[in-house]
């Protein structure tokens, strides 16, 4: 099975509530959703973040939008206005999760959109 970064299979958005962060992954198609549902467990996400997250990680499924939602406690250094961290709201944690590599069926890897920025709309080459 090919290994592929989550970056090439899904989008993400993360946000805070107190000292809890939620990280949603949005698969680009149903086959990619099945692949991340199989591979990206709560335990793997907890291991991926290691000591950055102090509490348990819980996973929820939202198949209607091909999404997994991870909720991690004690994750923001005490919560937005209390945390010493630059990323006190966990805004970058979704992107950090996209670095995770998972094994996927060949067709899923072949169909992965592998999007990369092109700033031509921003007036630069």
């Amino acid at each position: 099975m090919p290994r592929i970064k989550l970056r090439d299979l899904c989008g993400t958005r993360s946000g805070d509530k107190g000292d809890t962060v939620n990280i949603a992954l949005f698969a680009y198609d149903p086959a990619a959703y099945e692949a991340i549902k199989h591979e990206v467990t709560a335990a793997r996400v907890a291991a991926h973040f290691g000591g950055l997250i102090g509490g348990p990680v819980q996973r929820y499924e939202a198949p209607n939008v091909l999404a997994l939602n991870f909720v991690a406690r004690n994750a923001l250094g005490g919560g937005g206005p209390r945390s010493l961290r630059s990323d006190n709201l966990g805004k970058t944690l979704g992107g950090a999760l996209l670095r995770m590599e998972i094994d996927v069926p060949g067709p899923v890897a072949d169909q992965a959109p592998r999007r990369r920025p092109d700033l031509s709309l921003y007036g630069s080459d």
Binding site: G11, T12, R13, G15, D16, K17, G18, D19, T20, N22, A24, F26, H48, F49, G50, G51, L52, I53, Y60, E61, A62, P63, N64, V65, L66, A67, N69, V71, R73, G77, G78, G79, G80, P81, R82, L84, R85, S86, D87, K91, T92, L93, G94, G95, A96, L98, R99, R115, P117, D118, L119, L121, Y122
Partner: protein, 468 residues
Amino acid sequence: MTVRLAGGQGFYGDSVTAVTGLLEAGVDYLCLEALAELTLAILQKDRLRDPGAGFTRDLPFYLQLAMPYVAAGRTKVITNAGGINPAAAGQEAAKVAARLGLSGLRIATVTGDDLIPRLRTVSALPGALANAETGEPWQDFPGPVLFANAYLGAGPIVAALADGADIVITGRVADPSLFLAPLSYEFGWAPGDWDLLAAGTVIGHLCECSGQVAGGNFSGDWWTIEQPWNLAYPIAECEADGTAVITKPPGSGGRVDFDTVRHQLLYEVHDPTGYITPDVVADFTTVRLDDLGGDRVRVSGVRGREATGTYKALACYPAGWSGEARVAFGWPDALAKARATEAILRKRTEMAGIAVDEWLAEYWGVNALLGAAAPAMPQAATDDLPEVLVRMVWRCADAQTAGRVGRELVPLALSAPPWGMTGAGRGMTGRPSQLLGLWPALVPKELVNEQVRHDITDLPEISDSTAV
């Protein structure tokens, strides 16, 4: 009948420039969400300095743009910008109307979310106000209460609209309730209509963060979003059966499609099968999103269930003071020099006998955002980094102590590891700032409802009124 709602503000400090486009596109209600979790702490400090303050200071700018449309009967405004002092915000709204020469407007202010007057009564109930994250009882609340507010629901806003209010200004209200309220009022939705209330909650949730549903903070092919400097804020075209189309004003930048909308659907959501608001428990996994093309996404199918018996409350306490310093080092051995500097500052602080309760060092370009979770870099790569910025941040009991730590850094300008340390921008150290702890809790609704009310102010008639 279609009711058009606009999400004109997503936080205190948001841009007002999208509002005119929304108003010109034609919306029945302009909903302005101004209160993030910590915003009430900022507003509480304002009110301590000035009893007439405590609402968001950008409210007058929004009202100045919207009021001519309100006076012309083209829209109504609903906002939680009243913050810690909705009554004062209502008076400010009257002043804006007077400046614009507008008359005949009816302004409602909703109060009762402030729990401080009732803390003794509420906390006497076993388990009430226990910390919902940690389980600690209220008796262990660490320090003075800077604010304690319940998140109210749509009810008092619906009541104000039924009394003919043109502008409704509240304090803490659950964000989606600002949007559900006008739908409940217009369509006659009531407690018991759980699917409809859940549908209105989803519509509100999608629109409450302004540009975030229209291509802002979007992780997909974000670089293809048109005119991101002119990003659209959303409009929801809502029907009595609970369905809606999320769209944006013509000519605006941004994008509304399946991908941008689903990104917002799960933003700051925990269990998507049970999104709890004061009004309903909505099942976000029942939401059906149909991309109609042309920046239109249809929302349907939403199911909900009976609301809980409690409001969420959020209390806040002072949690010490932080200071920080940022210095940069260049090649060679930039990371090693930065690490040495951090160690020197810590040692000097210890030698000076300054009490530091918590330290954090972030190495920008290496591990600043992720700390322990940053991917390991090979030794050869870290040895060869062209530059490293270290941000050192510390927590102390008071502002004076936090400031003393920063002063221990200054002599290092001539005594640090070689090739000198460089301030990152103007000034290596910032002024100490107060840290705040949040205490989420639940409180029985009936104890809060006793004090919830809305007050109506009718602005006097002025002849020669101007309207759009």
